[in-house]
């Protein structure tokens, strides 16, 4: 046992020597991901893989492996994190199954000297870094855009996400705050849960439409704009201003409408490429940079002008994506200081 410890110490010393030459060339990063069952997560894993492979090939880091738990269970992911500590990774990027239930494992990692960077679904353990999305701001920006297009105001329909999930609460909160405080000319006349899925949103909107007065705009959460548009068309009502959520089917519908009748809107969501941002933030932390514990990811916004470009780069059935670079990460870090 003693000899192993000595060996580890010697290894650490050697790693230290390499460290002096290139900051993170000997470092190993692991991605702990809790779920891979939808298009967003698939896109996330793909972006991470591309970023990681390029970084390893360039000698930026020694390894950047991705692990996904098979059952999206916190106990399973906690075990996965513990295994990563054992495997000697220097940093763990974490998309967490629970904001709190992994704190024990995260603390163990921190105590073992492993840097933990949580992103997207973040953890509350203070020793970890958090790359969070300001979903409240996302809701606010939607209302701001709608107000800029329709300054005279009117009735809005709100499509919410999956009930009980914090993301849904946050976006909705931003929408309501913006209307209550800045844009009293708007009134939310109906609110349905579309579960971030086009078919669910379409059914829900079709169900509430007959009871609604004229609707001038629809504020959404992503993955529901196309379903809403279909429901309005099926009911024979004029298509209102629908804010989109970067899904390929939404962009395609938007482009078709634009070509047919000059339809104009905007689209915003969080890009799955946030995993590549987490990678670079982790690399910066390992390089010894002073990185604040709380960082905010920018949204990916698509406007009328870059619709064609976005549609071209978004694979069918997927979601618009962007791969973040080292410079992006440095900008985010600088912005948080």
């Amino acid at each position: 046992m003693k000899s192993i410890l000595m060996g580890a110490a010697a290894l650490a010393l050697m790693a230290g020597a390499v460290h002096a030459e290139s900051p993170t060339a000997s470092k190993r990063i692991a991605l702990s991901n809790n779920y891979a069952g939808n298009s967003w997560r698939q896109a996330m894993l793909k972006t991470y893989e591309e970023t990681a492979q390029a970084a390893v090939a360039d000698g930026v880091v020694a390894a950047a492996d991705a692990f996904t738990t098979s059952e999206n269970q916190t106990t399973e992911q906690a075990a996965q994190i513990q295994n990563m500590i054992l495997q000697g990774y220097d940093a763990i990027l974490l998309n967490a199954a629970s904001p709190t239930a992994l704190n024990g494992a995260v603390k163990e990692a921190c105590d073992a000297g492993v840097k933990v960077i949580s992103f997207d679904s973040i953890v509350t353990e203070p020793c970890a870094w958090r790359i969070a999305v300001d979903f409240v701001e996302m809701g606010r920006q939607e209302v701001e855009y709608v107000a800029s297009r329709l300054p005279e105001g009117g009735n809005l329909l709100e499509i919410r996400g999956l009930a009980g999930v914090s993301t849904d609460d946050a976006i909705s909160k931003g929408i309501h705050e913006a209307i209550d405080t800045k844009y009293p000319q708007f009134k939310i006349v109906g609110s349905v849960h579309g579960d971030w899925a086009q078919d669910v949103a379409q059914k829900a909107v079709a169900g509430i439409l007959p009871s609604l007065p004229d609707v001038v705009g629809v504020v959404t959460q992503g993955g529901d704009g196309y379903g809403a548009a279909e429901a309005f068309a099926a009911a024979g009502r004029p298509t209102p201003l629908i804010v989109m959520g970067n899904r390929q089917d939404e962009l395609k519908w938007w482009a078709e409408q634009r070509d047919a009748n000059g339809y104009e809107t905007m689209s915003l969501s969080i890009a799955p490429g946030v995993a590549s941002l987490a990678f670079w933030v982790g690399q910066q932390i390992l390089a010894g940079e002073d990185v604040p514990k709380d960082l905010t990811v920018p949204f990916l916004t698509i406007t009328q002008a870059d619709l064609d470009e976005a549609l071209k780069t978004t694979p069918e059935g997927s979601v618009s994506n962007v791969s973040y670079t080292l410079e992006d990460a440095q900008a985010v870090i600088a912005g948080a200081k």
């Binding site: 492996d65 059952e71 916190t74 106990t75 513990q82 500590i85 629970s98 709190t100 239930a101 009980g164």
Partner: protein, 307 residues
């Protein structure tokens, strides 16, 4: 030969798997490494013992995972904020488990149906208590679960203590012998003058007790809870009992084996992750390990029956 050698196969499986893990990941071969490998096995081992208590009387408990989740939620909220009230609730949960056992026997209901139904009750209560993940572990449980005893890591020490205590309770004590007899031949136990309803309630009550311990240990490790935190435990605990040499009928169970079974299952998952196996294959590979061990057992027991 069966009873004596039943424990042999689980021990061999664990040793082989441990050897392969050490070979793959030498870093694991240390105080720190062993603790990391096995500390999440402690609540699983306790849940496996809980399941074993029910399997011992020929029933099966499909609500255990949800029950442990509920206990975790109670521990992270009420037991932390108002310890006395929290403790009462946990005692109440144990009592309701005993009641469930009594009802299953008196109304001659199939345990598999009742426990499946109850799993939704436990799950609902847990969601009611903690609609979003949160809560905090009571300080004393956290410090207990992060103890660093000299020489032997806590996870290993805890497994040995649990195995020893339950061995005394189930194999050596009078009540344990009667309970195993209930699984073996309920009618003769009844003829001998025992109150079978009370016995079933005792078995389920013990199961509830270990379920509560499992949930508390889990929160001590994770520091907080959510309503789905232990749903995997239902299947893991059944697999642990069987892997540890227990059988679904006849009251043939082995507490030491069950603890070893739980350790083996935990280790198997880590081993597969060290192998860098794609997650799509991991569940399948875990199943394959299970089938492998069961096949080996069948071969052994056939041989045993022949001689």
């Amino acid at each position: 030969m069966q009873a004596r050698y039943r424990i042999l196969l689980p021990v061999i499986s664990l040793v082989v798997l441990l050897g392969m893990t050490f070979w793959m990941q030498p870093r694991a071969m240390s105080y720190f490494g062993l603790n990391l490998l096995f500390n999440l096995a402690v609540p699983i081992a306790l849940a496996t013992i809980a399941q074993m208590m029910v399997i011992m009387v020929n029933d099966i408990d499909l609500s255990l995972g949800a029950f442990v989740s509920l206990v975790a939620c109670v521990t992270a909220t009420w037991l932390n904020d108002t310890p006395l009230f929290g403790a009462l609730i946990l005692l109440g949960l144990i009592a309701s488990y005993a009641l469930m056992g009594a009802v299953i026997h008196m109304l001659e209901l199939p345990a598999i149906v009742v426990t499946l139904g109850m799993s939704f009750v436990w799950g609902g209560l847990a969601l009611f208590l903690l609609p979003t993940p949160g809560g905090a572990s009571p300080e004393w449980i956290r410090s207990l679960m992060t103890l660093k005893p000299p020489m032997v890591p806590l996870a290993v020490l805890a497994a040995v203590i649990v195995a020893a205590l339950t061995h005394m309770l189930v194999i050596r004590s009078k009540i344990g012998t009667v309970l195993r007899g209930l699984g073996g031949n309920a009618r003769s136990i009844a003829r001998a003058g025992w109150n079978v309803t009370a016995l079933k309630a005792t078995a389920y009550g013990l199961s509830g007790l270990f379920g509560v311990l499992s949930g508390m240990a889990l929160v001590g490790l994770t520091t907080s809870a959510d309503a789905n935190i232990a749903l995997r435990y239902t299947l893991l605990s059944i697999a642990g009992v069987i892997l540890g040499g227990g059988e679904f009928t006849g009251g043939k169970v082995s507490p030491v084996g069950a603890v070893i079974g739980a350790l083996t299952l935990t280790l198997a998952a880590s081993f597969l992750s060290f192998l860098r196996l794609s997650p799509d294959w991991q569940i399948g590979a875990q199943g394959a390990i299970l089938i492998l061990v069961l096949t080996a057992r069948l071969l052994f027991s056939r041989k045993g029956a022949a001689t």
